[in-house]
Amino acid sequence: MLPVVVVHGGAGQIPKERSEMSTAGVCRAARAAYSILQGGGSSMDAVVEAVSLLENDPSFNAGCGSVLNVKGEVEMDAIVMDGKMLRSGAVSAVRNIANPVQLARLVMDKTSHACLTAEGANQFASAMGVPSVPQESLITEYSQMRWKKNLTPDADPVECQMGKMG
């Protein structure tokens, strides 16, 4: 039964015209992670690779393609956890980083903390040599359209994102 990897995208509203991209993205990520496992790689390597690929895929709300905050900016969160020693690393409200999950892994591996947030996370990134990227590279036409659509006073962003109960 081992090795095994399971990958997910967002739960909620996925418009028909985006469903194929979304399915293709998770399949690509699962294949890549599985080949790491088959090559003897660790489960941590596998999950970080899978999530990095999805962060780089503009179809998903993470990394490039993240939803925007009310000011039209990108703030991202990520976590990793290793089940052997219960080690964990996370970043929250981090900006201008292409792969927050890789930064979260650095928090786990290089600090004694569980989570770094906002400016602290960004300073840690530059100390670790993680390049910062322009915010524009993380914003897509789709995320901007959804942001504008939900600025009206009567908008319901949660309903827009989560959709109805299954």
């Binding site: 039964m1 081992l2 090795p3 095994v4 990897v5 399971v6 997910h8 995208g9 967002g10 739960a11 909620g12 509203q13 996925i14 399915t23 998770v26 990520a29 699962a30 294949r31 992670a33 599985y34 496992l37 489960s43 941590m44 596998a46 999950v47 899978a50 999530v51 962060e55 709300n61 993470a62 990394g63 993240s66 925007l68 905050n69 009310v70 000011k71 900016e73 990108v74 991202m76 969160d77 990520a78 976590i79 990793v80 956890m81 089940g83 996370a90 929250s92 927050p100 999950v101 569980a114 989570c115 906002a118 995320s143 962003p157 949660v158 994102q161 989560m162 959709g163 109805k164 299954g166």
Partner: protein, 140 residues
């Protein structure tokens, strides 16, 4: 939100989750994803979970660790995932989705929303789906 759980050939278990958060969130809003036990949790002795959905609801029930508690009580990965999602829905009216795995490689994909894109790879077979009840396979 995106995430993954995995068990490698040595039986080590890991999880990872990443997100841009909620649409039009306030500046500085942090959701469930970076919160250990909510956005994800991994323990070689029990299993691993990665979650997605309404972050404020997931945090209120610490969904990832809640599912693993059910597995510690002997529930299967499917039943534990359903119990956790059902509690979140009944207690705080939150929707979400999870991927769950146990140390022996049993896995489950469950969601209370209408859709969640997912994929799994095991024994040279790729499994995937999007809408409730979908489960396609192809050889790797």
């Amino acid at each position: 939100t995106v995430g993954a759980v995995a068990v490698d050939g040595e039986g080590n278990i890991s999880c990872a989750t990443s997100t841009g958060g909620m649409l039009n969130k306030m500046e500085g809003r942090v959701g469930d994803t970076p919160c250990i036990g909510s956005g994800g949790y991994a323990d070689n002795n029990i299993g691993a979970v990665s979650t997605t959905g309404h972050g404020e609801a997931i945090m209120k029930v610490t969904l990832a660790r809640l599912i693993l508690f059910h597995m510690e009580q002997g529930q299967s990965v499917e039943a534990a995932s359903d119990l956790g999602l059902a509690y979140m829905r009944s207690r705080v009216h939150g929707l979400g989705g999870v991927v769950t795995v146990d140390p022996r490689g049993h896995w489950a994909v469950r969601f209370s929303s209408r859709q969640m894109s997912w994929a799994a790879a095991q024994k040279d077979t790729l499994h995937y789906g999007l809408y409730t009840g979908e489960h396609y396979t192809q050889s790797i």
